[in-house]
């Protein structure tokens, strides 16, 4: 057979081409279609030619795309290529195809010549690529979110480190030592941050603190703290608090990180505070021993003087001496108690069974002598013994009565009421007169606060009510105040009969008598 004889008829070539071929009129109606395309989509030629439009064979999405993209493109540029569309098979399957189309005018008619290729594998592959791309985009978005969160965290850390003036270090296995951030230079006395080597830093550490870094301190994954001193190049010795931790990781040698903090100021203040506390303690000793003794001698002397026969003038002077000595002794006592309470030791309370009525009666007797010319009354209710420190109760009542005399109506009586109730006992001190200003009440029991209108010669150091409160606390009780223009002013002490031990209070409680 010659080659000529082997050349196939072009009609047969068209029909059995290795791709789908068709020609449609301008509205998409199929005018000619080859067998390959018919076989692919399961329709006989007779059901396509002159009957169906290309777009009838497409999915809804494909139809829209055909109208909004394919048609305009074909109109404007005369051709489209590599359009991916799903063609619906006679059995409703979707067959992915790639199509090319050319617009041709022939004898005044517009024709669209179309070639189609099945692209199942290619489409599956493309979907795979699309899916991967979406995953990659999501991963990227996620990574960017993490990155932003990390940046924010880093900025916060940096701000915190700068605000607290901290210096960070970590160790670098390759460099075989610590790597400090540039702020370490400030700890060494430089004016500006600069790089500091591990050796330079170690050389500046004061030798009195032992070897540096402290052996074994960094090996634990627990947080450790270590204080040492650095001799700065500016001649200033700084106290450094090093806080660090080992970061253990299974696949890498342990790494250490740490924070350095200049605590020179803090330790200076701590030492100063310790000095002050020591001084205060010494003051207590001086005041208690060196001041109390001469006061006692003055009181004893003036009492003895008063018991002898004196002229009226002499008797008046001796009385004034005694009164002033009493006041001085109270003030010294207040000062001692204040100092003791301020140093955190509270006020010592040694409780024992006390006859409350007898105690208050005795107190009224003594105070009437001190505040001669003022009426001091005592009303008692209830019966029984109370657990209390008798001397402290006397001191407390003395302070309250002194206040009542000082701030109350000059002509009015001071009334002390004592009452033993089922669960608590109370002592109330009342005076008439103008009430305590409202804005003063919240701070009334704080040290150094007192009424503005106290007459000058009766000034005290303003510790009276602070000590009253401390004594009440020492007994596990409390003191309250009510003050109105009509009812006058009443301070009320309430102490439970069976007090709970107060944490931190130094009072010791005897067993209650059965």
């Amino acid at each position: 057979m010659s080659v000529d004889e082997q050349v196939r008829d072009s009609g047969e070539l068209f029909d059995n081409a290795a791709c789908g071929l068709m020609s449609t009129s301008h509205d998409g109606t199929i005018q000619q279609v080859n067998q390959t395309f018919c076989d692919w989509i399961g329709f006989p030629k007779s059901e396509l030619t002159g009957i169906r439009k290309l777009q009838d064979l497409l999915t809804v999405g494909g139809k829209i795309f055909h109208q909004t993209h394919w048609m305009p493109l074909l109109q404007i540029q005369g051709s489209v290529a590599e359009i991916a569309l799903d063609v619906i098979h006679a059995d409703q399957r979707k067959i992915p195809m790639l199509m090319n189309a050319i617009r041709r005018e022939h004898n005044g008619m517009v024709w669209h010549d179309i070639a189609a290729f099945i692209s199942e594998d290619r489409r599956a592959y493309e979907r795979e690529i699309l899916r991967s791309r979406h995953q990659a985009e999501e991963a990227l978005a996620e990574q960017m979110r993490s990155q932003r969160a990390l940046e924010l965290a880093e900025q916060r850390l940096r701000l915190a480190v700068e605000a607290a003036q901290l210096c960070l270090w970590d160790d670098d296995a390759r460099q075989g030592g610590r790597v400090f951030d540039d702020r370490a230079a400030l700890l060494l006395g430089y004016a500006e941050p600069r790089a500091v080597s591990a050796d330079e830093f170690a050389a500046a550490v004061d030798a009195s603190g032992g070897p540096f870094p402290k052996q074994g301190s960094e090996d634990s994954s627990e947080l450790y703290r270590h204080e040492y001193r650095i001799n700065g190049i500016d001649g200033i010795q700084r106290t450094i608090l090093e806080t660090g931790r080992a970061l253990n990781s299974s696949d890498a040698p342990a790494k250490h990180v740490g924070v350095l903090q200049d605590i020179s100021e803090i330790s200076r203040q701590r030492m100063a505070a310790e000095d002050r506390a020591l001084f205060a303690q010494q003051m207590i000793g001086i005041v208690s021993h060196d001041l109390r003794n001469p006061l006692s001698a003055i009181m004893l002397g003036s009492e003895m003087l008063l018991s002898t026969s004196l002229e009226a003038n002499q008797s008046r002077y001796a009385g004034a001496i005694l009164q002033s000595a009493h006041r001085s002794q109270r003030m010294v006592g207040d000062l001692l108690d204040f100092t003791s309470a301020r140093l955190g030791r509270g006020i010592a309370v040694n409780a024992e069974a006390v006859n409350l009525k007898a105690l208050v009666d005795r107190c009224v007797e003594e105070l009437s002598m001190v505040f001669s010319g003022r009426v001091i009354r005592h009303l008692h209710h209830g019966a029984g013994l109370c657990n209390a420190d008798a001397d402290r109760l006397l001191q407390l009542i003395g302070n309250l009565v002194a206040n009542a005399v000082k701030y109350g109506a000059p002509e009015g009586a001071v009334t002390i009421t004592s009452d033993i109730q089922p669960t608590e006992f109370l002592v109330a001190v009342h005076n008439d007169g103008s009430p305590i200003p409202r804005d003063l009440i919240p701070h009334l029991f704080e040290p150094m606060s007192r009424g503005e209108h106290a007459p000058g010669e009766q000034r005290s150091v303003g510790l009276g009510l602070f000590i009253v409160r401390e004594i009440a606390r020492g007994h596990g009780g409390r003191v309250t105040v009510e003050s109105t223009a009509d009812a006058g002013t009443t301070f009320t002490l309430r102490i439970p009969l069976e007090p709970d031990p107060v944490p931190g209070a130094s009072g010791q409680w005897d067993a209650r008598p059965d």
Partner: protein, 267 residues
């Protein structure tokens, strides 16, 4: 950035009245190439690309702004303000007809009348209203688009096999047709096909010409009829045409319908 750059605005023609043309979903302002030459001798012609389409400035595409048609309406008002001192005659294809509606409600002083080509206030069927599509159909469209935008995210453009009889089309221009960032194309498809402007129609007081193709699956005749009954001052013209783009496939019929409409206006 200027409005001109952002929307790739082009001005041709000369005349006292300005016509602003806005293309629809799918391609860009080159869709108007068969229509505008008929008007340019007597009118000033402004054509532009919606942001995200054609040769608009892609960097101006703000997902938030263009998550509804009102973002596009804002742009249209700016274009009308920038390119005409007088109220313009607006010609909107497909989704742009609704963009014109929103722009008119927002700035009525900028618009004299509207020509809506293949408009639809809502594409999804809803009770008695037949928009033509279901939500599932729109997903199918997004899928088709994704398959076809595969290569367009890189520098590859659809290959051109040659355009018989139209040698003037340069390759560069051809490549830009219907080409856009796939993510933008998807969002624009969603914004377009899920929009519902039925409640705004009665607020449009200007004369409106609706150019309705006799066979248009995207905007079926029932939608054109619904529009002409709902917009207070609208007239409906059916153009014998298959498809969504009568201005491309039946430019002569489109031009004559528009001329008639414009002649009836006191511009």
């Amino acid at each position: 950035m200027s409005v001109t750059q952002r929307n790739n605005v082009r001005v041709t023609g000369e005349g006292p009245v300005t016509l602003v043309f806005a293309h629809g979903f799918g391609c860009d302002q080159s869709m108007w190439r068969l229509l505008t030459p008929s008007f340019s001798p007597h009118y000033r012609i402004v054509t532009f690309d919606l942001v995200g389409c054609g040769q608009s400035d892609i960097s101006a595409y703000d997902r938030q702004k263009y998550s509804s048609l009102s973002g596009y309406a804002d742009d249209l008002v700016e274009i009308a303000e920038a390119f005409s001192d007088q109220p313009v005659l607006f010609v909107g294809h497909s989704v742009s007809a609704m963009i014109g509606l929103l722009a008119d409600i927002q700035a009525p002083e900028q618009f004299a009348a509207h020509v809506m080509i293949g408009p639809s206030p809502s594409y999804i069927n809803d009770g008695d209203y037949v928009g033509g599509f279901t939500r599932k159909d729109i997903d199918s469209l997004l899928e088709t688009m994704e398959a076809n935008y595969l290569g367009w995210s890189s520098t590859m453009a659809p290959a051109i096999m040659g355009a018989p009889g139209q040698p003037e089309l340069g390759v560069e221009l051809t490549n830009s047709f219907c080409r856009t960032d796939p993510e933008i194309a998807k969002q624009f498809a969603r914004v377009t096909f899920l929009s519902d402007n039925r409640s705004d129609l009665s607020r449009l007081q200007k004369p409106v010409l609706i150019l309705q193709s006799s066979e248009d699956m995207i905007a079926p005749r029932s939608v054109g009829e619904y529009l002409s009954q709902t917009i207070p001052n609208a007239s409906l013209r059916i153009i014998e045409n298959l498809g969504h783009c009568p201005h491309l496939s039946e430019p002569a019929a489109s031009v004559s319908a528009m001329r008639e409409f414009v002649a009836g206006l006191s511009l």
